[in-house]
């Protein structure tokens, strides 16, 4: 018994509700039938609506529709993280969440940065400017 208590202390977690017979698992929640079912139903809904929106051309403005689609995807990613990957701020002593937050920051920088840089590059390299540049190079 004392060993199990120490185990709890070492990990800095409170697993009072979990039972210690399977102690090699208790740092990570497996989820239950209920949580998997909720996650699945939410995912089906969050997948079906974007497909329906695009296939029936419900929103005519593609900019707006694109943003709506991205919003649905973001919500579904969170649903998967919570119900399938069992992410919470406590798993692995918070390091899972730290790694995830770091990754999300890098992903956002990579995506937004690429689009921003490439958009401006395309903008400043309009085809109309190309012959001049070619001329300047070949003239001397």
């Amino acid at each position: 018994m004392s060993g199990h208590n120490q185990h709890g202390d070492h990990h800095g977690h409170n697993h009072g509700d979990h039972g210690h017979d399977s102690h090699h698992h208790d740092a990570h929640d497996h989820g239950s039938l209920k949580s998997y079912t909720i996650g699945f139903i939410l995912s089906v809904i969050l997948t079906a609506i974007p497909f329906w929106l695009v296939m029936n051309k419900t929103i005519s403005n593609s900019g707006t529709l694109g943003l709506v689609l991205l919003a649905f995807a973001a919500v579904q990613v969170v649903v998967h993280m919570v119900y399938f990957l069992h992410m919470n701020s406590k798993s692995e002593g918070g390091w899972n969440m730290m790694a995830l937050v770091f990754t999300v920051i890098i992903v956002v920088i990579a995506m937004a940065g690429s689009l921003w840089v490439m958009y401006h590059m395309n903008h400043n390299m309009m085809p109309s400017m190309m012959p001049d540049a070619m001329h300047m190079q070949t003239a001397p």
């Binding site: 997948t47 790694a99 990579a110």
Partner: protein
């Protein structure tokens, strides 16, 4: 309470304590964290591929556009396959929790079947595109499309190999802690691939057919 008792027993208690320390820091926990870090770095690979597609996805080079190529009902079926395989993997985890080897193997097998169905549909789509002359060398759009979707498909392929290997290991060694750890890691991997697919079907297929 009990910890003070252990402290009071002196050197022997310290030895016991050390023993427990070693035992409790069994690789299970750290390998899950390590695997999570691998997944996060994998996520960065996909971020690069998504960024490439975001930049090049509209560079058709007078070739076919996404609206002309993408078959949304097929993509919807594909998405359903992957989502179903996610929940069946979840059922396999629940069966493992209840220490039911046969049920675990059954659900893992069903997961594998859905995975193979997903890959087959994707292969069919790719071959169809290449047959139509819309292969990866046709335009920057198609290069980035094949790179992104192909990398995801490759991950699913290796996931299925891992799944089959794990089924043999489960059959041979039973529900040991080691196999439990492997199940956890593959669970993370499999659900992670489904998360990436959300990005793929939204960003590549659904947004790709918008005018």
């Amino acid at each position: 309470m009990s910890e003070t008792i252990v402290h009071n027993t002196g050197a022997a208690g310290a030895a016991v304590r050390k023993q427990y320390f070693v035992h409790e820091h069994h690789p299970e926990n750290s390998s899950l964290l390590g695997f999570w870090l691998y997944l996060m770095s994998d996520c960065l690979i996909f971020a690069c591929l998504f960024a490439t597609y975001a930049v090049l996805g509209r560079s058709y080079a007078d070739g076919p556009t996404g609206a002309a190529l993408f078959d949304l009902p097929l993509v919807a079926v594909n998405t359903a396959m992957l989502l179903l395989s996610s929940i069946t993997y979840g059922f396999a985890m629940l069966a493992m929790q209840r220490k039911k080897l046969g049920t675990t193997l059954l659900w893992l097998g069903i997961t594998g079947v859905f995975g193979v169905a997903f890959l087959s549909l994707e292969m069919y789509e790719f071959l169809h595109l290449i047959h139509e002359g819309a292969g990866p060398q046709r335009s920057a759009f198609l290069s980035s499309f094949f790179a992104l979707v192909g990398t995801h498909g490759l991950h699913v392929f290796f996931g299925i190999i891992w799944l089959v290997t794990l089924m043999f290991q489960l059959k041979k060694h039973g529900l040991t802690p080691e196999n439990g750890r492997r199940m956890m890691c593959l669970s993370l991997f499999w659900h992670f691939l489904d998360v990436i697919w959300i990005g793929v079907f939204t960003f590549v297929y659904l947004m790709g057919v918008l005018p």
